[in-house]
């Protein structure tokens, strides 16, 4: 046992090895829990999407693909800087850990800013579910798919379900990002104090796992929510 930094070894663990094993296993079980948490939303999405393919495609075409793609790139980049921060924490390179953490947080905030503009756009166009929800199928689409007036009405209702799912999924995802940014800021203090090294870096590692998980969710949200309208409407 390395007695030099025994303050970071909790008393009920026998060794740093055991503490690290327990910590990362605990984090993975937590992520399994997160998978099922988002899984409920993905299940709802799958059922409605398979039942209302065209309706969802039409609703989806109201999302902003360039902004969605930009956010995907931002998150992937932040995953990279996060992975580097974990690497530097193992190597106990204090300044590099702090630097990469800051980069990660800046990218995370960038994502949230883009998301803010996207949400604002939805509020402007009243595509936020609720009493003021308004959605109109474009005349070209009605002509293209030869939709009856009743069909247009159901389509507008299904669009509200799509946007409900959109706001639930991206909202919970954004909430996870906000929490992540909070944890990241809190981690800066031990990072600056040089607490992390080969034996003790679980906080950074677990934060990294959490951050990557949030990235993973977005990797699925982006095609499912943004892209499935692209072909249906461009191809016709």
């Amino acid at each position: 046992m390395a007695n030099g930094h025994s303050t970071t070894l909790h008393h009920h663990f026998e060794s740093y090895d055991q503490q690290r094993n327990a910590s990362s296993l605990g984090m993975w079980f937590f992520l399994a829990q997160e998978v099922m948490f988002f899984g409920g939303l993905f299940t709802a999405y799958m059922i409605y999407r398979t039942q209302n393919g065209l309706d969802f495609a039409v609703a989806s075409s109201h999302l902003n693909i360039p902004l969605g793609a930009l956010n995907t790139a931002i998150l992937i980049a932040s995953s990279f800087t996060m992975a580097m921060a974990v690497k530097k924490s193992v190597l106990a390179q204090r300044k590099a850990i702090v630097g990469y953490l800051i980069l990660t947080l800046i990218l995370g905030c960038g994502f949230l800013v883009v998301k803010y503009f996207e949400y604002a756009e939805k509020f402007e166009h009243n595509t936020v579910p609720g009493s003021s929800f308004e959605f109109h199928v474009e005349p070209e689409l009605i002509a293209q798919y030869d939709l009856s007036p009743e069909r247009v009405v159901t389509m507008e209702k299904r669009a509200e379900i799509f946007f409900s799912l959109y706001f639930m999924m991206t909202g919970l995802h954004a909430l996870h990002m906000v929490i992540g940014v909070g944890i990241g800021i809190w981690l800066m203090f031990p990072a600056m104090a040089g607490k992390f090294n080969m034996d003790y870096h679980n906080p950074v590692e677990n934060f990294g796992l959490y951050w990557h998980f949030v990235d993973l969710v977005w990797i699925f949200l982006f095609p499912l929510l943004y892209l499935l309208g692209g072909n249906a409407l461009a191809g016709g």
Partner: protein, 140 residues
């Protein structure tokens, strides 16, 4: 009590990946993002969804294996990842067998069906068949 638990655990040797590997993964993820946007605008019929999900799974696998170090982790962590993915799969697939098979076996007509038909006629409920036709429309 000097030694503990599962000795195949990951921690005994902390794995450090090279920066160039992380950069390679970053590049691959960005390229795949571009690809999925581009392919969404190509008309592949029913295959569009499959391709989009396939790309997403590839990206997810890269993140899990390399950024999250599962490739270098012990058996138990691989087991947890497997658990999470398979439980999600169970939830998706078993829920789907209900919705996917509602038209296969129809219970005998009951007075309720007549009432339901009435609701459909008056525009309060949707036709049972309507869902199937939406699916086809998407494939244009």
């Amino acid at each position: 009590m000097s030694s503990h638990g599962d000795h195949t655990n990951p921690g005994h040797q902390v794995h450090v990946s090279s920066t160039s590997m992380y950069l390679t993964i970053l590049g691959a993820l960005i390229v795949l993002t571009g690809l999925t946007v581009w392919v969404a605008f190509q008309d592949l019929g029913w295959a569009n969804d499959i391709v989009a999900l396939g790309i997403a799974f590839t990206k997810a696998t890269l993140v899990v294996l390399f950024f999250m170090h599962v490739k270098y982790s012990g058996r138990i962590i691989k087991f947890v990842v497997l658990c999470a993915v398979s439980w999600l799969f169970v939830m998706l697939s078993l829920t789907y067998i209900d919705y996917g098979s509602r038209d296969i076996i129809k219970p005998a007509a009951t007075p309720v069906d007549a009432e339901y038909q009435d609701l459909v006629d008056r525009g309060y409920a949707k036709k049972a068949k309507a869902s199937a036709s939406h699916g086809k429309e998407t494939g244009h």
